[in-house]
Amino acid sequence: MSLFLAILTPFFGAPLVAWLALRGRPQAAWAAGGVTLLALVQLLPAFAAAFSGATTIERLDWIPTAGLDLAFRLDGLGLLFALLILGIGLLVILYAHYYLSAQDSLGRLYAYLLLFMGSMLGVVLSENLIQLLIFWELTSLSSFLLIAYWRRREAARRGARLALAITGAGGLAMLAGFLLLGEMVGSYELSVVLASGDVIRAHPLYVPTLVLILLGAFTKSAQFPFHFWLPHAMAAPTPVSAYLHSATMVKAGVFLLARLFPALSGTPEWTWLVGGVGVATLLVGAVIALFKHDLKGLLAYSTISHLGLVTALFGIGTPLAAVAGVFHIINHAIFKAGLFMAAGIIDHECGTRDMRRINGLWKYMPHTAVLAMVASAAMAGVPLFNGFLSKEMFFAEAHAAAADWRVGIFLPAAVTVAGIFAVAYSLRFIHDVFFNGEPIDLPKTPHEPPRWMKVPVEILVVLCLLVGMFPAQTVEPLLAVAAGAVLQGPLPEHDLAIWHGVSPALWMSVIALVGGVLLYLGRHPLYGLHDHLAGRLDARAIYEHGLRTIIDFARRILARLEAIGLQHQAAVLILAAFVLGSAGMLGAAAPLTGTRPLLPVDGVSLLAVLTLIGATLAVTVLHRRRLTALIIVGAVGLIVALAFIKFSAPDLALTQLSVEVVTIVLLLLALYFLPPETPAESSQSRRWRDGTLAVLAGGGAAALAWAVLTRPTSSFADWFLANSVTGGGGTNVVNVILVDFRGFDTFGEITVLAIAALGIFALLDNLHLPAPGRDAAGRPWDSDIHPLIMATFVRLLLPLALLVSAFIFLRGHNLPGGGFIAGLITAIALIMQYLANGVTWTHARLPAHTHPWIAAGLVIALLTGVASWLFGRPFLTSTFGHPSLPLIGELPLASAMAFDLGVYLVVVGATLLILINLGMAHSVSHEEDRAREGTWKP
């Protein structure tokens, strides 16, 4: 459980820290640090196991029927990444406390950072690929929140959207790749996938799978040509850039390359795709970085370049290259996080990041300058600093691979050129910022930052030096287990010494260093050339152009659709449904009429059906006289209820009857606010068109119903019938299905009912409608709006109606009835009070708002379901008994009855909420109107 809990810790910590931040900034920082440490402590046993070469795997049932478990895994690679995430996370938390100004919400930043931390831990510690993908998308979402942290800034919002679109699209492609992978090996478990490399590589779908997964990895790790989102992500606060966009999240892509290395690598497709994209990214990033005048822009492109370097190493694909790749992941995370923090300090102290203005800071902040210079030297690959070691391994691998790749001198030449540019931009970072004359027109006078703001940078810089000088004593054990987990096999011979003798790699390093210095000296003409070319080929401009084209296209289609109006839209929809439906029916070879024996027709049924058809046609013909049409609709509903009685559905008949009453009352109330007549405005041709559609749709529906009704049925009805009494404790099978077997569905349905009622409540809020002063025939309304006889009788009837409703409710489990029907009867009884006695009278005696009833109903239904957990049973398992009470006798009691009570309350609450609120709008406008005419007698 420790892995699962460690991943959950930051998720639970996030709201806690946000809440503590209200108390003060130090409390928030301590809490965020504490949460991170807690996660770290929980992982320690698994860390120890990983160092001894063991893989910790934990499993929890999630959706066992779909083959999905929550499965976690910590091996050497997971260990390395978990250490990076939590270790650098701690430093970033300390740093951010000093970085963020007083008016920015520190709690929000920490909460987002912790969300990211948990998501990223989930990515690197997942054993199940689908689960990994979910965490992967969560990192994209938390990155979105963090980039848009300063949400009032346009650049932040655009950068966040861009990053989310690119990485989110990549994640979707990766999901498709994972699904294919799962189909190939029959499992989403990493252990199985990693052991099935040969099966995967020999599979005909290998190439599409590879491309889809690589799309995910490349977009996340900002590989060319998807690299352009990363520089725009620099709109985030610098602690975020240091943490997500250099040390951890952008490493998720290369993490995946490393993770799936045994399963996917070793083919020409892998080598060319991964290696090619890696080298291209390495070059593009290094070249552009030199020309960025923005401090963070330089670092962003340098990050892209270094990610390309790691990708290229995995692309080369030899075991030694993979070791070098893992090593460079460690080194880059250390020096680049330090550099970003240093850049943040400079930005913080100078008020700008423009290197054309920031000069000569050596005099103002010598301590920070030393730290930045050490980290820059590591970035450039200067001996004795950690970057040198992995970079030289890279040079050696590139040189060795040149022969295999049949590209001759190209590969070593390309990586050397990238090395030259890396030296040049590192030199620029040092020389431009700390020397090169005096600062130009800075908003602030720079000075050293607070003491503790430098501590995280110092720790990282010391690590740069320690690893750079004593690699075998410091980083070797970690590198060995991590690389061993990547290769899933024995480690190749590797030597982390600083001096390897005179080798091609050494010469490449020398060329890079000397060439880099020369390039920097000749930089000014190049700046001019770059400014001349800049903007000609901007990946982001291409992306935005594509996006605009798609959006414009969608807008045009929508505008077309909207321009034709709802009537035409509905006509198109119905026609399409008819065409598709009849295409399906005509394509079938089976005859329309089935073999089921038909029921005989009796006179009463024939009369009822003829009445139904006549009434329905009358509604259509008379629909312009609205009140008449509405009354006839009520008749149609009653005949439908009769049909339910005839065909063995007493519960449905009861429901239909009561709903019918409520619906007609509702529509009558609504009709008061609408014109009494519909104007004759449809043209002759429109009526013909609609009539044709109506005949087609009706004919189709009748044919379909006929085909269904004449075929023998086979359903699992027998199971419900056999288990109703033994399993659900009730003899009314329909009710047992509703409250027990399919109780979860019913729970969803009453929730929908509650939401609809609340939506209606919102629609009626502040509704001012003109009320007609006279009825349809032009007569003034009757002055006796609450006739005495009706009011008296309705009051007398109330207890009786409530008694009936209680009776219907109680017997519902065994005989027709139940919560839905009882709820409707109660609602009707109460609505009758409003109708007969008026809102004022009734409000004095009943609660004005029924929201609490709805809430209580939902809570009772939910608690009934949850209660079964206490007995170790699944949600909504019901139990029942037949206790014997004095006087009443044996009482059938089922826990499902409590659930039915919830249903009852929601139905009563929702129905009353809808009708009372409309009735109140009604009564307000009615009284205003009477006051205007002067006939109102209070």
Binding site: G565, Q567, A571, L598, L599, I613, T616, V619, T620, R624, R626, L630, V633, V636, G637, V640, K646, F647, S648, P650, L652, Q656, V659, V662, T663, L666, L667, A670, F673, P675, T678, S682, L693, A694, A697, G698, A701, A702, A705, W706, V708, L709, S715, A717, V725, T731, N732, V733, I737, L738, E749, V752, A756, G759, I760, L763, L764, L769, P816, F820
Partner: protein, 105 residues
């Protein structure tokens, strides 16, 4: 008998479709009500027509209870939908000043 029910479903659907295609909100709501009757009857009919065998244990033979359970909630949800649409129509009338389905013509 099956033919009569199929015919009823057909007529309810046809008249419902015709009314749904009208230009004013109130006939559209009436049309939706007719369509709900048709849909509920059709769903119910998937359990086939059986006379005198309600699914209450004790009778010996029973009709299929499952479509009945589905239709029962469908009737209640249908009421909620009708209510929502008619309120939307009222709100539209208040905001736009007329009861045309496209707001104004």
């Amino acid at each position: 008998m099956e033919a009569l029910i199929a015919l009823s479903i057909g007529v309810l659907t046809g008249c419902g479709v015709y009314l749904v295609l009208r230009a004013r909100t109130f006939p559209v709501v009436l049309g939706l009500t007719l369509l709900s009757y048709a849909v509920n009857l059709f769903l119910f009919a998937t359990g086939r027509l059986v006379v005198g065998q309600p699914p209450v244990i004790g009778g010996g033979t029973y009709t299929d209870p499952l479509p009945q359970a589905l239709v029962l909630t469908a009737i209640v949800i249908g009421f909620a939908m009708t209510a929502f649409v008619i309120m939307l129509a009222l709100r539209a009338r208040a905001e736009l000043g007329n009861d045309h389905v496209d707001g104004e013509r």
